[in-house]
Structure formats: structure tokens, C-alpha cells
């Protein structure tokens, strides 16, 4: 080993003969090995300082240039100091890259470079000139030099004197090697002044190989965040750290950059631990940045994969109650999050307990406690007012329209009592009453609501329709007219008003009051819309209805005249015939106003798929008019057989798809199925791999055939691939959601096998311990009722859906006026549209 070392040493040793030494020095320099050349020239310089000084200086310059090019500023500094000693004057780094004019073995003997390399070297030289000037006070003699100007401009920026900064660099020309520094200064000035567009434009023009280009990165991150596209900005740890420092958040930048790194690597718990440990205000302050961070760390687990979320929650909730420094603010926040987690886990009973507990906290800024509490009570009410989830043990579709009617009503009422000016709570209670068909309570509530919110269109519409329903026509019309006057563009309101007029006119017609009937029908007509697709608003349909009312009164002539006027506005008489067929039966079932003539005419026309679809729409409307179900089934069968004939005559793909989709919707049971299958098989012949058609086929088959689950899953997988190939996003999404549903089915299969009556040992996500802690803290009694073990569930549960399924807001909930009884899973009816 020692021998080897000696040999190496010998080979690195410089020759002693001056001629040999000089030859070696020239050779090494030309080859770009400046350190070896410097060593040789050093020896020669000792012997003849005058002759070899330029060579030695050239070597040092080349070394310094190389180091600066490599970004080794610290290494370059002693070299530059040595150069200063040798030459007796400070060296401008820019001169390091000036091409040598001589060809005597100095700079000119160095390696040959391309123009791009020369530009890069020159830029680096300019950068070194500017940066090395820091730490030195520019003397008067070089105050006008460009590095000094840049240096002074940067000083001005740091002192927020932006105009002065720009004045300093104004003199730097575009051809100067320092021009990129002018861009940098301009970018910085614009950034700190808030002119983001100018800042971006200046900073992006800086040449990539320069130090300012590197320095621009943190600013670009901040600027791109401002332009809402942070995903495209450079987000390495260094850039983030400096972005924080340069924007005035030096104390947070390192921690957050590190936490961000942890988070990006899936080390969520480490990120949270770091933030909790390093930011003392994290759990205590409501400062925007800490509040923002707290919200992130408290809620992001809802968007993580199940397993990661469970692990993360162990840390998130771990400190509850035990740590004396545990912040009260964070404690309350976590109580709320816990309630949300339990809600999400489908445990409203426990969520309710934690919400109630949370009501002991302070309300958010600017909100009164009553208002906040009312909102929480409303939220609990809403949970109980939602339909109950399907019970896996009793079939998938058997669910209740309201999860817990008594609790829902109780909480919604409490919310109203706590804060009585929230119209959404009233509307949700109203909706609940309507779903439950508690008509007396509904009417009572509507009376209160009309008094409380006389200018609320929706309330007036509800109240008006309810009055009409209970035959308080004048009062109902008054409310409806007021509602329409508040928003004339709302067609739902107009439709409700027209419906009110028609029902009032019908009542008058039945009492033989022709004038009053006509007057109401005239008012209805004033609100009608020519050619509207809505059966309520269509002027022709209104004429037809009025004709029927005249027939009821025995005025055959007037009725016939109105009917013929109505026919003028329809291109297809069959549509009007079919409509009148139903209208006659609904208005005066006892009078038998030749309905058979109407329907015979309707179905006597040439079969056509478009007409079938129109018939289906009328059928749907007639169902809502209150036609008997048995009758409607018979009508569905008639339409189906009409469609079968239409099928032979040819059809549009769009019409066929609509027919198939209507069949799948289940509104008509399976009475449309035979034709739908024929249509679909026709479509599949034209394009057998079409993902949409194949999805429809699977849906259609589910009515009558039960294939094996794995076969169905394979087919969905294949559809998914085909949809991807064809870029058919709609089918892609649908296939994905169906597959997810299938996974749920397989989960319930496993679940039912392992179901036992044992109590849970542990709630998911470490919640068991947390609940214990919080229970201790709040000195609560045992809040947990027995729950089935969820062993198998943990294995096969799909990722949490909290992110994709936002909470149903009060307003959304109040938008579901329905007349279905609890447990009825059929389409919910809009009460404004429930009459003719």
C-alpha cells in the first residue's frame, strides 16, 4: 500500500528542469487542467517572477472562472483574493471571461468554446461581479459601474424604495452583460409593488444559465400561486424555503417547506407532527396562516385513502385531553371534526352527541352563538331528515324517505326556535313534512312562513299550492300571484300559477259558473307561452283544457271551437289527442267526454319513435295529474306496442337511446322493456363495441336477468377500456361508478358472512381512544351503543367518498318538495306540478 502511494506521489511530482516545467505548464493549461498548470507556473514564478507572472495570473483566472461557472463561489473567493495580491488591484470577475488578445500561451491557449458557452461564461462573470460586490462597500470610483448600480438597486428594494431601485438600473443597456440583472430588478420591483403580470413577464425573460434565473424561481412560485396555477411552478424544497423568506414569512418557511416535502412523500403524520412541534401558534392562533394550516391538517384525511386516513387520525386526535399544552381551540376543532368523521362513518347517533358537545365552544368570528347553534341543530335535523341508507340485510333499495322523522322534525324545530330568521330551516322542515305527508303540520308551518317571509317567492309558491290543494282557491291564487310578481322569469312559478287558475276554473266549471271559469282561464292564458314544451305553460294545451271545461259545462259548440283552435297550434294532432284523452278523464271522470275517440285517434296515426317519446311525456304528466295506476300501466303497454310498430319503420339513434333510457329509469316498470331491447339490439348491430350501448345492455338486463357478478364485473372492465380508447368520458365515468357499486355488493357479501353481535373493540381510525379521551375530558357517560364488529369491512372498504360527495346543504334539502310517503322509493313529485 505504502509502495503504491509512493509511486503515485512520484508520478504527480513536477519536473525540476525549467524547460521541462514550462513545457508541462503550457501543456496542462492548454488541456484545461488549470490547477496542475498553476502549480508548474508557481514554481517558474518563484524563479523568474517578471516573466511568469502573466501566466500564473492567467491560471488563477481560469481556475476562478471554472469555479464560478460551477457555482463554487466560496471556493473561488480565495483565488480571487490571491489574484488581487498578485496584481495589486481588485479583479472584476467579468474580466475572467474576456477573450485574450494574445496568443502567447496565456488565456488564448485555453480550450476553444462555442458562442453559447462564451455567453454562458460571460453571464456567469457578470453574476459573480454583482454577487462578489456584496459585502464590500462600493467606493466612489466604481459607484457608476454596473455591478454597483445593481447592488444599490437591490438595497433600495430591501428598503421598499422601488422607484429609486428602477432609477439605478435604468442606465444598463440591453447589450450589457448585466442586462439580465436589470430584468431581475424590474421583476422584483413589480413583484413587491403587486404588479404580478409585469413581474412574471420580466422574470421569465431572464436567461436560464444565470444566477438571477435561479433567484427568480421562488418569486415565480409566489407569482404562479397568485395566478392560480401553482402546479406548474417549481416546488422543490429550496424554492419553497426561499419563497417564504422572500415574501416575509421567514419564520415559517423552513417548517412548511419540510412539511410539504413530507406530505408529498405520503408521510402525512410526520408533516403534522413537524408543524405541531415547530409552529407554537398552530393550535392556538386564529391568524390566517395558522388557521389555514389547521384547517388543512384537520380536514385533509377526508381525502386520503382509507388506510392512510386511519393512521393519520391516530396522530391527529392523539393529543386530545392528555397534553397540558393541548390547545383548547384545537380541541374544539377536533370535536367538530370527530362529529364529521362519525357522520361520514354513517353513525348519526354519535355524531349528534359530539355536535351537541361542540356547541359549548365559541362561535366563529362575526357570528352569534345562537346563530351558530341553530345551524348545528339544523345540521343534525338534516342528517335525520335525509333518506336512510339502504340496509344490506334487507335488500338494497329498501330505504326510508326520512331516516328518523321524529328526530328530524324535533331538531329542525329546535333550530328555528334558537334562531327564527333562517328561511332554509323552515323550508327544510316544510320539505320534511311534505315527504312525510304530514299535511296538517305542513299547512300550519306554511301559514307561519308566509307571515315570517312575505317576500320569499318559494314560500309563497309552496303556500299557494298548498291552499289550492285544500281548495282555498282565492287565498292560494293570492299567494301564487304574489310569488310570480316577485320573479316573472321563473317558469316554475308561472306554471304553478297557471295550475292554480286551472284548478279554480275547474271547480267553477263543476259548479256551473261559466263566467268565472272563463275569467280564470283567461288569466291562465295571459301567462301561457306559445309553443312551450311544458304542458302547463303551452298555450295550445291551455286551449285544449279550456275546451274540456266547456264540454263539462255542456257548451259543445264553444268547446269544439276552442279544440279546433288548439289543434292549429300542433303539428302532430296525435299529441293533442292523447293529452285531451287524459285531461278529459281527470277533469270529469263522471262525464265520459268521449275519451275513447281521442285515444283511438292518437294511436291510429302512423307509428313513429318521436311520437312515442311525446306519448311517454304525456303519460308521465298524466300520472302526476292523479290518473289511477292500473290505468297508467295499461297505457304504458299501449305505448310500448305502438313503439314496437314504430321500431319497424326505422328510427333515429338519439330517439332510440331516449326510449331505452326512459325504460331503464324504471318509471314504467318493465312495460317498455321488449321494445327497448329490440332497439338496443339494433343499435349494437351497428356498433357492437360501443361503450354506451353496452352499458345500457347491462342496465336493461338487470331488470330480468341476473348474470354472475364476476361476469358483469369483467364486462364493466372491458367497457371501461373501450370508453378510454374512444375518449368517451361519460361512459367512462358511468362504468367506474357501476364498478364501485359492484364492489360495494361484494363487500356486503363478505360482511354478511362475518357479521356477529359482538361489540366493537375499536372504532376505525383510532377513534375509540379519542372518544375515550374526550369523554374523560367532558366527563360524559358512555355514549356508545353496541355496534356490529367491522372486521371484514376494513379490508374491503373503498376509499372514502367525503371529497366527492359534498354535504347536502340546507338549501338543497329544501329544494326537494315531495309527496311520497315514507318508504316509497318512487320518483318524488314536485308539488307545483302535481295537478292540471
Amino acid at each position: 500500500m505504502a509502495k503504491k502511494k509512493k509511486k503515485n506521489k512520484k508520478s504527480n511530482a513536477l519536473p525540476t528542469a525549467p524547460a521541462q516545467l514550462e513545457a508541462l505548464a503550457r501543456r496542462e493549461y492548454a488541456a484545461g487542467r488549470y490547477r496542475r498548470a498553476r502549480d508548474a507556473y508557481k514554481q517558474l514564478h518563484k524563479r523568474d517572477p517578471e516573466k511568469f507572472l502573466p501566466n500564473l495570473v492567467a491560471c488563477y483566472k481560469s481556475m476562478a472562472a471554472e469555479m464560478l461557472e460551477d457555482g463554487r463561489l466560496t471556493d473561488a473567493e480565495p483565488i480571487l483574493n490571491r489574484l488581487r495580491e498578485l496584481t495589486g488591484t481588485p479583479l472584476d470577475p467579468l474580466t475572467l471571461w474576456q477573450p485574450s488578445e494574445s496568443n502567447d500561451g496565456r488565456n488564448g491557449d485555453g480550450p476553444v468554446r462555442t458562442p453559447e458557452e462564451e455567453f454562458r461564461r460571460r453571464t456567469r462573470g457578470a453574476d459573480a461581479s454583482v454577487i462578489l460586490l456584496f459585502g464590500e462597500n462600493p467606493s466612489d470610483e466604481n459607484a457608476e459601474r454596473e455591478p454597483a448600480l445593481i447592488h444599490n438597486a437591490l438595497k433600495c428594494i430591501c428598503e421598499s424604495r422601488y422607484e429609486d431601485a428602477m432609477k439605478h438600473v435604468r442606465g444598463i443597456s440591453a447589450k450589457s452583460p448585466f442586462s439580465h440583472w436589470r430584468l431581475f430588478i424590474k421583476g422584483l420591483v413589480s413583484f413587491y409593488k403587486g404588479n404580478d403580470e409585469t413581474a412574471v413577464s420580466a422574470l421569465t425573460r431572464i436567461p436560464a444559465a444565470s444566477a438571477p434565473a435561479e433567484a427568480a424561481k421562488p418569486f415565480m412560485l409566489l407569482l404562479e400561486a397568485a395566478s392560480n396555477s401553482p402546479e406548474s411552478a417549481n416546488r422543490d424544497e429550496w424554492t419553497m424555503r426561499h419563497a417564504g423568506r422572500l415574501s416575509g414569512y421567514a419564520e415559517l418557511s423552513d417548517t412548511l417547506a419540510r412539511a410539504d416535502y413530507f406530505w408529498s412523500k405520503g408521510r402525512h403524520r410526520d408533516a403534522l407532527k413537524l408543524v405541531r412541534k415547530s409552529i407554537p401558534d398552530y393550535g392556538k392562533s386564529d391568524e390566517s396562516i395558522t388557521a389555514r394550516l389547521r384547517r388543512f391538517f384537520e380536514l385533509s384525511h377526508f381525502h386520503l385513502e382509507e388506510k392512510a386516513a386511519d393512521k393519520y387520525r391516530d396522530v391527529l386526535f392523539a393529543r386530545g385531553g392528555r397534553d397540558p399544552d393541548y390547545s383548547k381551540k384545537e380541541y374544539w376543532d377536533l370535536l367538530r371534526i370527530l362529529a364529521l368523521v362519525l357522520e361520514n362513518e354513517g353513525d348519526p347517533l354519535q355524531a349528534e352527541r359530539f355536535w351537541k358537545e361542540y356547541m359549548g365552544s365559541l362561535p366563529p368570528p362575526g357570528i352569534s352563538k345562537e346563530r351558530r347553534d341553530a345551524e348545528i341543530l339544523f345540521h343534525i335535523g338534516l342528517i335525520y331528515a335525509e333518506p336512510s341508507p339502504p340496509n344490506p340485510f334487507f335488500g338494497f333499495d329498501r330505504k326510508k324517505a326520512v331516516r328518523d322523522p321524529e328526530k328530524a322534525v324535533d331538531y329542525l324545530k329546535k333550530s328555528i326556535e334558537t334562531y327564527e330568521n333562517n328561511p332554509v330551516a323552515y323550508k327544510t322542515l316544510l320539505t320534511t313534512y311534505m315527504i312525510l305527508r304530514w299535511k296538517r303540520e305542513r299547512n300550519k308551518l306554511l301559514d307561519t312562513m308566509v307571515e315570517k317571509f312575505p317576500g320569499d317567492k318559494e314560500v309563497l309558491l309552496h303556500a299557494g299550492s298548498a291552499c289550492i290543494e285544500r281548495k282555498a282557491f282565492q287565498k292560494g291564487l293570492k299567494y301564487l300571484e304574489r310569488a310570480v310578481s316577485l320573479d316573472r322569469l321563473d317558469t316554475n312559478g308561472t306554471a304553478a300559477l297557471i295550475s292554480g287558475y286551472i284548478q279554480t276554473a275547474l271547480a267553477d266549471a263543476k259548479k256551473g259558473r261559466a263566467d268565472r271559469m272563463r275569467s280564470y282561464m283567461d288569466k291562465a292564458f295571459d301567462n301561457a307561452v306559445e309553443g312551450s314544451e311544458s304542458f302547463q305553460l303551452n298555450a295550445g294545451m291551455l286551449l285544449a283544457r279550456r275546451a274540456i271545461l266547456e264540454y263539462i259545462l255542456g257548451n259543445e259548440k264553444e268547446g269544439a271551437e276552442l279544440e279546433s283552435r288548439a289543434r292549429e297550434s300542433f303539428s302532430s294532432q296525435a299529441v293533442l289527442d292523447y293529452f285531451m284523452y287524459f285531461a278529459a278523464q281527470v277533469y270529469a271522470p263522471e262525464k265520459k267526454l268521449t275519451p275513447n275517440t281521442y285515444d283511438a285517434r292518437a294511436f291510429g296515426t302512423t307509428p313513429d319513435m318521436k311520437l312515442c317519446l311525446q306519448f311517454l311525456a304525456i303519460h308521465d304528466f298524466a300520472k302526476r295529474m292523479g290518473m289511477p295506476e292500473r290505468k297508467m300501466i295499461a297505457e304504458a303497454k299501449r305505448i310500448n306496442s305502438f313503439a314496437t310498430r314504430a321500431c319497424k319503420a326505422g328510427y333515429d339513434t338519439a330517439d332510440a337511446l331516449k326510449y331505452i333510457e326512459t325504460c331503464i329509469s324504471g318509471e314504467y316498470g318493465n312495460f317498455l322493456e321488449s321494445t327497448a331491447k329490440k332497439l338496443l339490439s339494433g343499435l349494437l348491430k351497428t356498433d357492437p363495441k360501443n361503450p354506451k350501448y353496452r352499458l345500457l345492455k347491462l342496465e336493461l338486463n338487470s331488470f330480468s336477468e341476473t348474470g354472475s357478478l364476476s361476469k358483469v364485473r369483467r364486462e364493466y372492465d372491458s367497457i371501461l377500456k373501450e370508453a378510454g380508447k374512444r375518449n368517451d368520458t361519460e361512459s367512462l365515468k358511468e362504468a367506474q361508478s357501476k364498478l364501485e357499486r359492484l364492489r360495494e355488493l361484494s363487500f356486503f357479501d363478505e360482511f354478511s358472512d362475518e357479521f356477529s353481535d359482538e361489540f366493537p373493540e375499536r372504532l376505525p381510525g383510532g377513534l375509540g381512544e379519542i372518544l375515550e379521551e374526550i369523554k374523560e375530558l367532558a366527563q360524559m357517560e358512555d355514549p356508545f351503543p353496541p355496534r356490529p364488529r367491522k372486521k371484514s369491512r376494513k379490508k374491503s372498504r373503498k376509499p372514502r367518498k367525503a371529497s366527492s360527495k359534498p354535504r347536502k346543504t340546507g338549501e338543497q334539502a329544501s329544494e326537494i318538495p315531495a309527496n311520497n310517503p315514507p318508504g316509497d322509493n318512487s320518483t318524488q313529485l314536485n308539488m307545483f306540478d302535481s295537478d292540471i
Binding site: 430591501c158 435561479e214 388543512f296
Partner: protein, 106 residues
């Protein structure tokens, strides 16, 4: 991608009133009209819809599970974006930063 906190999008504080939200919304819509910045406009509209009433603001603060930002560092970026004034660092910090940039450039 996570939806941004609507308060941050509109640049209003959590205790803002309906009027504050409306004013901020109108100012932003004027600044980012749909024909020039359609994405931004849509985001502003969406944010306004989410917090324009006291009811909606409460719903967001109490029941929303949206974290508002995607990653921890976004908290700082949002802060820098929404703060009225940007503060430059002191001279020494700037100097150290530029030296690092020079050293970093390979």
C-alpha cells in the same frame, strides 16, 4: 385537485359580512372578466356561491370537509397571495439568498 378556500379566492376574512363578500366578488369579477380569464372567473363565481350568505359561510366553516389547500406549503402561498402588502427581506437575507443562487447554479 382540492377546491381552494372560497374566503381566500375572494380575499375576505372569515368574519366578513354579506356586503363584504359581495364587494370583493364584484371587484374580482371586474378584474377578471370571463372573456379574458374564464377559469379564474369560474373560480370566483363558485367561491361567491359558496359563501355569499351568512348561512353558507357557516355551512362552509362548520361542515365542509374541504381542506382549502392541497399541501402544507400552500398555506403560506395563499397568505402571500392574499396579503395586502408584500414585504421584501432585509439586505443581508437578500445577499445570502443571491450567493446561494450563485452557488446553486451548476
Amino acid at each position: 385537485m382540492t377546491e381552494r378556500n372560497p374566503f381566500d379566492v375572494l380575499g375576505v376574512m372569515p368574519g366578513a359580512t354579506d356586503e363584504d363578500v359581495r364587494r370583493a366578488y364584484l371587484a374580482l369579477v371586474r378584474k377578471h372578466p370571463p372573456d379574458i380569464a374564464p377559469r379564474r372567473f369560474a373560480e370566483i363565481n363558485e367561491a361567491n356561491e359558496r359563501i355569499k350568505t351568512e348561512q353558507k359561510r357557516l355551512e362552509y366553516e362548520l361542515f365542509s370537509t374541504e381542506p382549502g389547500i392541497e399541501r402544507p406549503f400552500d398555506a403560506l402561498l395563499e397568505q402571500a397571495r392574499t396579503s395586502a402588502e408584500r414585504t421584501p427581506p432585509d439586505y443581508n437575507t437578500m445577499m445570502r439568498f443571491l450567493r446561494e443562487c450563485m452557488n446553486r447554479k451548476k
